[in-house]
Amino acid sequence: MSRSRGRGLGTWGLDALTYFLVLAFISPFLWMVLTSFKTEVAAYTIPPLIFFKATLAHYASVFASRFWFYFQNSVWAAVGSAVLSVIFGTLAGYSLLYLSRKRASGLLFFIISTRFMPVAAVVLPVYMVLTQVHLLDTHAALILVYTAMDLPIVTWMARSYFADIPTEIFEAASMDGAGPVQLISRVALPLAGPGLWAAGLLAVVFSWNEFFFAVNITYTQAPTLPVLVSSFMTTQGLYWARLSALDTLVVVVPVALGLIAQRHLVRGLTAGALR
C-alpha cells in the first residue's frame, strides 16, 4: 500500500471489535489455563474468579501420577509416525514430480482418498489383525496406524514444496554433473527443507491429538495422553482444577509445534490444493 491515511473512529471501533471477538473465541482455552492454577474450591466459585491466590499443587499432583508414562507413549507414537511419514512422504512427493501427468494425478487421488476414509470403517479389521499378530496395545501398533494417517498430508505437502523449486536450479545442477542422488540431496532437500520440517511438525500434532484409535487399540501398555484425559474425566471428573492442569500439560506440545509451523498450516490442511 502506497498511500497512508488517518485512522477514523470507525476503524478503531472495528479494531476493538476484532480484539474482543478473538479473545472471546479463545476464552475457553484461557479459562482452562487459569483454572489449572486455582484451588478446587476456587474453581467452583460462582461468580467465577478471575483473581485468586495461585497454586501449582495440581501440576505437582499430575506429575506425581502416571502422567510421564502416558507422555512417553505419546512421544513414541507421535515422533515414530512423524519420522516414518516424512521419510516415505518426501520420497513419494519427489517421485510424483517425475510421473506423467495422468499417473501423478491418479496416484495423488488414491493417496489423499486414504486420508478421507472414515477411520470407523477400518478400526475393527485393524484391531483384529493387530490381535492376531500380537501387536495390540503396543507403540508399534500406534506408529503403524498414525503413519498411514499422516502420510497423505506429508506427501501432498512435500510434493507442493518440491514443485515450487524453479526448474533452472535443477538444470544448472545437472549441467554441473549432478546425478539423481545429488539432485535430491544437494538441491531438492535443502530448498524444500523448511516445508518438510513443518510437515513433520504437523504430523506430530495430528498423531499427538488422535483419540479414536488410541482409545480402541491400546489398554495398559501403550495408551497415549488423550486416553489419560478421557479416563481421568471418568474417575476424577469432579476435580476441575486438577483436570485443567492435566489438560494444559497435554496441549502444550501440539499448540507449541502447531504455532511454530503455522505459516505452513494452510498448505498442509488443504493438501497442497491452496498455497
Binding site: 471477538l21 473465541f25 460462582i46 478421507f116 476414509m117 477411520v119 535443477f170 539423481p180
Partner: protein, 307 residues
Amino acid sequence: MRGLIPRAAVDGDLTVTRGGRRRVETLLHWPTTLYLILVTQAPFLYALWLSLHSWNLQMPGLGVPFVGLENYAYDLFQDSTFWISILNTFVITAGTVIVMLILGFVFALLLNRRLPGRGLLRTLLIIPFLVTSAVTAVLWKDTLLNPTYGMVNYLLSVVGIHGPPWLTNYGLVSIIAMNVWQWTPFCFLILLSGLQALPEEVMEGAQLDGAGRVALFRHIIVPQMVRYIEVAVLLGSIFVFQTFGKIYIGTGGGPGVATTNLSYYVYRVAFLDFSVGGAASLGVIGVVLAFVAVQLLFRVFREGTAL
C-alpha cells in the same frame, strides 16, 4: 539432460529417458503407495468380508457363518438406531460447517485488515484447532457447559436467563458448539489465504465506505473466494463427519442415542456389543457416504491445482 528435470517443472512427459529405461525417481513413491494399500485398503477389504459374515465375539460357539447381505439389510430396514445415527451425523456435520463458515469468514475479514498486533491475534486464533479434541470435550463438558458451575450458564444468568443442562437437553447443539470451536480456526486460515490472494486494489477499494463496500463484497470478493469456500466446506465436512472424541467423552452418545453419530455407533456395535459383522457393515456404509464427499472434493481440486 531434459530427463533429469522434474516433470512438473518442465511440463513435459518424461517418465522414461531417451534410452527407454525407467527413471529411478518414478519408483520412489512405491514405499508410500504399498504402505497405504497395506494399512488402509487391506483392512477395508477385510471389513467387506467381515460385513458379509455373522460374528459375535461374545459367542464364539456360533462360529463365523456367511450371511450374505443380512447385516446390511438389518442396518437399513430393521435398525432404527442406524437411521438416527445417520441423521445425527448429517446434523452435526452440516451444523458445524455452516457456523464455522460464517465465523471463519468474519474472522478472516477482520484479521485481513491492518491493525496493531494483527500477527499475534492470528496466532492466538489458531490455538483451538491445535487443542487435543479429548481436551476440548473435557473443557466444554466441565468448565463451560456444567449446568450449575459452568461459565455459559453463569453468563446467561447475568442477563437473567436460567440456562438448561446443555449436554442432556441440547446434546447435538453442544457437540456442534465444540466442533465449531475446533474447526473455525481451520476455516479462518483457508479463507484468510483466499483474501490475501486477492489483488491489493480490491481490498483497498473494500475499505471505501457505504454502498460501494457492500457492492464490492458481493460482486468481487465473494466470487473470487468461491473456490476457497468450497475447499473449506468440503474438507471441513470430511473431517467433521468423523467426530468421535467429543461424543465419547462429552455425551457417551446419549441421552439414549440422541447424540450417537455413525462413528460412535460403529464403536458401540464393535466394542460394546462385540458384533463384528454388524460394525463392519456400518463402517462400509460410512465409506460409501464419504466416497461421495471425496468425489465432490476432487471435482473442486482438479479445477484449480497445477495437476
